[in-house]
């Protein structure tokens, strides 16, 4: 029988994809299993572990307990249902706040870095990467000092509001350098001719930016939005430090449950329910924004 001949340079695409798929699957098993256990446990009477699979029963009790603010079946409510709802709301406020501030500023600054000539532009662009490398924790003392100083002149009844604004701005500030860099990359890909073309057609600068440039960098905006949303949603240290102890987010709430020895007290499936809820928006938001991230069309412009 003749051996099957193939082109030397051609890798068998289908086999390649299959191999890649298997590798990715194996690599993600630990993560997938962990998430599965977490989510499944929130619907069972006890945490899923290997030995007691046979004794598991389906229940919504954990979710009910969680929303009632109870940590175990027997205990009295530590938090009220309103507390829980407020924590969820707080999480959204911080996440969307960070997302809005970051996306707006990064989009504008990215355009400036990509298109405008100004002194120190090159230095600034290099600085962005360096700034991103700074861990937020290392800045926390300075940021806290600034918080205390700036809080002074503000009447005390506004302090909670101010704390929220401060958390959002401070957390966004950590995200912005990298996101400016990302947006600059997207703006760089838009040819000057497209802008000129619109100017010649009679559009104002603002109109060109809004109707021509922004739609072309939509994938970049989507990417920056999702990164900053996730950053805001998961913000832990800044929220712990700046928000008053009564105002928690899901992240600090869950962290609180697990800290300070309370782990032995709480019913773990309740924590699993909190964890699952904590995951949900990120998943939904990601699947919503993902399609924008994948569509890059700069055709119709040959270069």
């Amino acid at each position: 029988m003749m051996p099957e001949t193939t082109d030397v340079e051609t890798i068998n695409r289908r086999r390649m994809n299959l191999a890649l798929g298997i590798v990715v699957l194996i690599a993600s098993i630990p993560i997938l299993v962990t998430y599965f256990i977490l989510m499944a446990s929130s619907f069972t009477n006890q945490m899923i572990t290997g030995s007691m699979v046979g004794q598991l029963t389906f229940t919504l009790r954990n979710w009910i307990l969680f929303f009632e603010g109870k940590l175990t079946v027997a205990s009295a409510a530590v938090y009220s249902m309103w507390d829980i709802l407020r924590y969820i709301l707080n999480t959204f406020i911080v996440a969307f706040g960070v997302m809005l501030v970051t996306t707006a500023l990064a989009t504008m600054a990215g355009y400036a870095c990509s298109r405008m000539k100004f002194r120190g532009r090159k230095f600034l662009i290099q600085l962005l990467i360096l700034l991103h490398a700074f861990p937020g924790v290392s800045l926390i003392i300075a940021v806290y000092a600034l918080y205390i100083f700036s809080k002074g002149p503000i009447p005390s009844q506004w302090w909670t509001l101010y704390a929220f604004i401060y958390v959002i701005v401070a957390r966004a500030a950590l995200e912005i350098p990298m996101d400016i860099w990302i947006m600059k990359g997207f703006f760089d890909k838009v040819p000057w001719e497209v802008e000129w073309s619109a100017l010649i057609d009679g559009a104002s600068r603002i109109k060109v930016w809004k109707d021509i440039i922004l739609p072309l960098v939509k994938p970049g905006i989507a990417a920056v939005a999702i990164f900053s949303f996730i950053a805001g949603w998961g913000a832990l240290i800044y929220v712990l430090v700046f928000l008053p102890p009564t105002e928690k987010t899901l992240a600090t709430y869950i962290a609180g449950l697990l800290a300070g020895g309370s782990l032995e007290v709480v019913h773990l499936p309740v924590v699993a329910a909190a964890g699952t809820l904590y995951l949900l928006p990120t998943l939904i938001f990601f699947s919503f924004v993902r399609r924008y991230m994948l569509q890059t069309s700069l055709s119709g412009i040959k270069g």
């Binding site: 040819p191 000129w196 073309s197 010649i200 072309l216 119709g300 412009i301 040959k302």
Partner: protein, 367 residues
């Protein structure tokens, strides 16, 4: 309609002078081609006319109106970019309608104008598509439609054909020329392709190093180039250049052959006291043969190569230090033996003489 005048226009980018003190008058309704090598300043000149760039000094006029400080929109120009610069997120219809919508024209009027121009350019069936669904030629038409729909006073085209494949290019350039004539719109067309320029221009403006080298009809540019640059830029292959020495008796000697120049040329040589001279001739104005032909100037050389291109062949001969290319019928060219001694028989009446110092054609030097 509109004529364009550039008055001592200079454009600097930092230390680089892209356009240097250019005076140019573009007649109403004519198709002018700015021709030159890349980096020569032709696109910059076009962008200056469009208003994308502001001149560092000098003024630009449309008719008698000074437009130097007007925005591109206020100048009402249509510009087709080399990369088309269509708006990728808009359908073809919206691309074409975009300039009209900005003028806040009524919907029904926009609709009829878009369909009119689409019909004119035969892209009516594409109006519902996105740019990425179109071929290069179709995208080019859409870009043209978008430029024309606002009824611009001037149509500017920046290498509009350079992204198309060779066959389509020849086809579309004929359409472009026809369209320009039908509309009678003043047009400026930038290209680095000399054959494209010769094919479509009413007038060619050869630009190099930011300076206009020559301005004239395609015939003038081709037949009588003003300087060595134009001579060696236009034509495929371009003009052959041979350096000669002027002898006491008024003849010119090169690589062992002698030529008596016409009296008018001789007079200028004497007046300019030239010791050397550059002689240029077109490849089609010479014939390579094994024996010299009577009445021709026939330097001798070695046959280097014959490249048949169908009906004609390009014959390369090395004559002393010079490499000469001759275009002649393939059938005759194939009779010649590579490496053999041959004569390049040049029609003396077609030879152009250039001052080796200024590289100017003697005919353009005032007597």
């Amino acid at each position: 309609m509109v004529s364009i005048r550039l008055d001592k226009v200079t454009k600097r980018f930092g230390k680089v002078v892209a356009v240097n003190n250019v005076d140019l008058e573009i007649e109403d309704g004519k198709l002018y081609v700015l021709l030159g090598p890349s980096g020569g300043g032709k696109t910059t000149t076009l962008y200056l006319i469009a208003g994308i760039y502001k001149p560092t000094s000098g003024r630009i006029y449309f008719n008698e109106k000074d437009v130097t400080d007007l925005t591109p929109a206020e100048r009402n120009v249509g510009l087709v970019f080399q990369n088309y610069a269509l708006y990728p997120h808009m359908k073809v219809y919206d691309n074409i309608a975009f300039p009209l919508r900005l003028r806040k024209e009524p919907k029904s009027k926009i609709d009829s104008k878009v369909h009119e121009v689409a019909k004119f350019l035969r892209i009516e069936n594409l109006l519902d598509r996105y740019p990425h669904q179109l071929s290069g030629g179709q995208q080019q038409r859409v870009a043209l439609a978008r430029a024309l729909v606002k009824e611009p006073s001037v149509l500017l085209l920046d290498e509009p054909l350079s992204n198309l494949d060779a066959l389509l290019r020849v086809y579309i350039r004929a359409e472009l020329k026809r369209m320009q004539q039908d509309l009678g719109i003043t047009s400026v067309y930038v290209t680095h392709d000399q054959s494209e320029a010769l094919a479509i221009a009413d007038k060619i403006v050869v630009i190099n190093k930011g300076v206009i080298q020559q301005e004239g009809t395609p015939e003038q540019i081709y037949e009588n180039p003003r300087n060595v640059f134009v001579a060696t830029f236009i034509g495929n292959p371009p003009m052959n250049i041979v350096k000669g020495t002027v002898l006491e008796d008024g003849t010119i000697e090169t690589t062992g052959s002698r030529l008596t120049p016409p009296p008018a040329v001789l007079e200028k040589i004497k007046r300019l006291k030239l010791k050397n001279i550059l002689m240029a001739f077109r490849p089609e104005n010479a014939v390579v043969s094994e024996h010299p032909i009577e009445g021709r100037f026939s330097p001798m050389g070695d046959l280097f190569e014959v490249e048949p291109l169908g009906r004609d062949a390009v014959v390369t001969v090395t004559v002393g230090e010079f490499v000469i290319k001759v275009v002649m019928p393939t059938r005759e060219a194939m009779q010649l033996r590579i490496g053999s001694k041959v004569y390049v028989n040049i029609d003396p009446s077609t030879i152009k003489y250039f001052d080796p110092n200024t590289e100017l054609n003697l005919e353009y030097i005032e007597a």
